[in-house]
Subunit: 138 residues, 2 copies
DNA sequence: TCTTAATGATACCTCTTTTGTATCAATTAC
DNA sequence: GTAATTGATACAAAAGAGGTATCATTAAGA
């Protein structure tokens, strides 16, 4: 599931990619929040995870802000998903916690869920942030 | 997202498919609940949706119960998902409610979500219940 | 006809997760 | 030194998921 957290994180990275291409390596969180319709304080929480995940860098103090840690062609949607939360875009609780269900060893449903999850993840891995920064997009 | 509701509904249909193949066209909800580790009263709620969705049929009174409405080869996982809830296995709230976000007309993320959603749905449509009732499976 | 076993309908409850807010400390440019 | 910015942490509100309870209705069979 793509939660708001994941969605907002992706928006933020997209925004930073746009600035990155224009040579603006650092932008304030407030600017990104305004630009991408993200609640400012919520976004501030997400910044931490993206920094911890190594996708963005931040600088404190006056004229500080955040910026991509590397070229947008080297960041995929999957990277953002991973950095945002421990559970990713998991299709089913059975994916991350198969042991919590005694049926899992023989469960045909789990098998199918795993196949679908694999497809979703591999698609997310193929989509680079740079691919999404086309003119007219936002 | 595959919620417990969806998961339980799939389990129920799988169980009924097993009985169906053994010639038992009607089984009590209590038996299915016990067999598939589903809380009985919760399952009762799900029965209604599957009946409304035309996947299963029910008979009241003594010796009543539930059973598949058609051959398991004519029921897919997608059918179960659709019958279970209005939102299906939606990847993102943006899929079912794009109008709720003013960004959607130009949103590159929404485009990607839609592509992924389409892949998930088409996979679910290819998996028939009969495919999943192999020996050793449950 | 009476009893029993089953579903139908509806309402409710509780816990977790998601989403969002608030506060204060630390840092940096000028 | 001041103003602008992020860091860290805690809190709160809202929504959703998961589960329970109750009573009505129906049908089989003694």
């Amino acid at each position: 599931m793509i939660t708001r957290e994941t969605d907002y994180s992706m928006r933020m990275v997209l925004s930073l990619a746009g600035h990155y291409k224009r040579g603006e390596k650092t932008v304030s969180s407030a600017d990104v929040a305004g630009e991408m319709d993200i609640p400012y304080r919520f976004l501030r929480k997400l910044v931490k995870r993206l920094v911890d995940g190594g996708l963005i860098e931040s600088r404190r103090g006056k004229n500080g802000g955040v910026g991509l840690a590397r070229d947008p062609s080297l960041i995929t949607l999957f990277d953002v998903v991973q950095a945002t939360g421990p559970r990713g875009v998991e299709m089913s609780p059975c994916i991350s916690e198969p042991k919590s269900c005694k049926r899992s060893p023989l469960c045909q449903l789990l098998r199918e869920f795993q196949v679908i999850q694999g497809r979703v993840d591999s698609h997310l891995k193929r989509v680079r942030i740079s691919d999404m920064c086309k003119p007219g997009a936002r």
